[in-house]
Symmetry: C2
Subunit: 341 residues, 2 copies
């Protein structure tokens, strides 16, 4: 990875990790299962609560928050509790998503509900939600004014409402034969774009830049989130299995209503017919990919991705970011969008 | 009901209800299922989202908050968003509890998860959790200072952590043969006492009384919560079925580890043996109640209740509450503890 992103990451991410460990009492409550379930989910311990070190998420959201704080001329250290809060909200939503999707594994390990049951996992997600707010309010202890913290908390919860609206739509789609591209975009605005928008907005609020610039940073995060999600959808079908760690067929076999698929379903009667069958073998997957290729679904999705990405970069520029953090934000954007996993 | 409690209630509870309706967009989003599920749970609509009026909870917690705000010399109207927040937290926890306990009905109506499934209900609870925080932050718009609001939010989330610890313990107890009375008390401290303590504490913070008095108000709420829960346990066994609306046998048949039962299990080998059987008929219930009566479990539980109640009233007095709200708080305490449902 290139400079300055590489060295800023190496300073910022461990600082956020340390803050999360402090909020979640990672040292004091090492043997306590109430905290231990959360420690497990975050990759700090194994299912017997023994300390381990696994890669549990890239911590992209807090990184964006802190890079923006610095690019906005703020002291990025003041944003560390905010970064921790964002990462904890993200992980709270993953714990509940895994129950709702009946996912057996996450990041190569059994999901929390698989080990301790859905009831405890619902409760553990609730606990992490609360602790995320506790984390954010710790910005006070780093000298951020009460006015800024109250506003940041209000916006965090409005963001969480957006997240739950996105999740509500996503679950509703499963029971509906037809979903439009517009409905899909509304869903990913809630599920993915809202929290990335908030990450950038929170960073900007620490820099105390004018409202217009805060808005540009938020739009940068928002559009980056949309581009990121569409990229995910593309990788879910055309990604290299050995790189993304799951069969690219999964999204097709489960009939996931991703952007390329929705476009394909709208364009191809043959695909609609195929999707109504119970098929799930390799031949089915091959046929689906073939039909998607024929109608140009990949190009359409890539056009969406590029359009969001370019809008994100325009907003970033309009926000007038400063110094090496500005470059790091551009590098991170490139990295997220050109990823093959 | 006696004055002044009666008239204060009639002013305060509708004000909180109005605030909750505003936060939950009860008029604008009447046909939107995302909001509609929450409206249903709160008793504002039926399962087809048609407006109805049912008794959905007594709104005791916000009432305590606002009575304390007034007794502490504050403008109780400033606490209305706080009261709404507390009631929403309480109801969020009920939505998730109903899933965890597999409860089919609540207040005589099908539970949310029974109608819309557990996945949507988990998410709806999460949404209400977020909106509760949004409600609290609206105290700013009523002229409460940012310092007080940030602190109130911090304490709300610490209270929610206590709630989830209580729920964690409660679920853990189901899988354990032996639970001590101390463990039980730790559990109800989280599940019941913490939010009542917070209700009183929040009210006191609006009155801006000295820290010592805030602490006395919090302890009043805390001990009232413990007494209230023990009363619930007693009614769960010796309550009049026609009044409490559920068979008093339910707690026994489900082997609920309530305070009288834990005492009975510790004292009577015969009861321990009986509880290990699969029995659930009327004869079983009669035998259990008999054994509980023999070892004096009811008297023990009542002694706990009275001790907590008297401690609650002592703290209330030590908090130096003012005017008619002080009397109303005493009346409410009496009412909650002498209830037979």
């Amino acid at each position: 990875m290139k400079e300055p992103l590489s060295s800023l990451m190496q300073t910022m991410i461990p600082a956020v990790e340390q803050e999360m460990r402090s909020v979640l009492q990672a040292e004091d409550k090492q043997k306590d299962l109430f905290y231990g379930m959360m420690h497990y989910h975050l990759g700090w311990v194994d299912e017997n609560l023994r300390a381990i070190q696994v890669v549990a998420g890239k911590r992209i959201r807090p990184l964006i928050c802190l890079l923006v704080a610095r690019a906005a001329g703020g002291q990025w250290q003041q944003g560390i509790p905010g970064g921790a809060a964002i990462e904890l909200i993200h992980n709270f939503s993953l714990i509940h998503d895994d129950i709702q999707d009946a996912s057996l594994t996450r990041r190569g390990r059994p999901t929390m509900w698989q080990i301790w049951g859905a009831n405890q996992a619902i409760n553990s997600g609730d606990a992490m939600f609360s602790l995320s707010h506790v984390a954010l309010s710790r910005m006070i202890e780093r000298g951020v004014s009460a006015d800024i913290v109250v506003h940041a908390l209000r916006r965090l919860d409005e963001t969480c409402v957006a997240l739950t609206i996105g999740q509500y739509l996503d679950m509703s789609f499963e029971n509906r034969p037809e979903v439009t591209v517009d409905e899909y975009l509304e869903m990913i605005e809630g599920k993915t774009a809202a929290l990335l928008a908030y990450s950038a907005e929170l960073g900007a609020s620490i820099g105390q830049v004018p409202a217009d610039n805060v808005q540009h940073y938020a739009s940068f995060g928002h559009d980056l989130g949309l581009a990121f999600q569409v990229r995910d959808d593309i990788l879910g079908i055309w990604g290299d299995e050995s790189v993304i760690g799951k069969s690219s067929a999964t999204d097709i076999v489960t009939r996931k209503k991703s952007l390329p698929v929705l476009f394909g379903l709208a364009e191809s009667a043959e695909l609609r017919k195929l999707y109504m069958t119970e098929e799930s073998d390799d031949e089915f997957v091959r046929q689906v990919v073939n039909l998607l290729d024929t109608v140009g679904a990949r190009q359409v999705a890539e056009a969406y991705e590029e359009s969001y990405a370019s809008s994100a970069l325009q907003h970033l520029e309009a926000a007038l970011p400063l110094g090496e953090a500005a470059n790091a934000l551009k590098q991170l954007t490139e990295l997220l969008l050109n990823r093959d996993s």
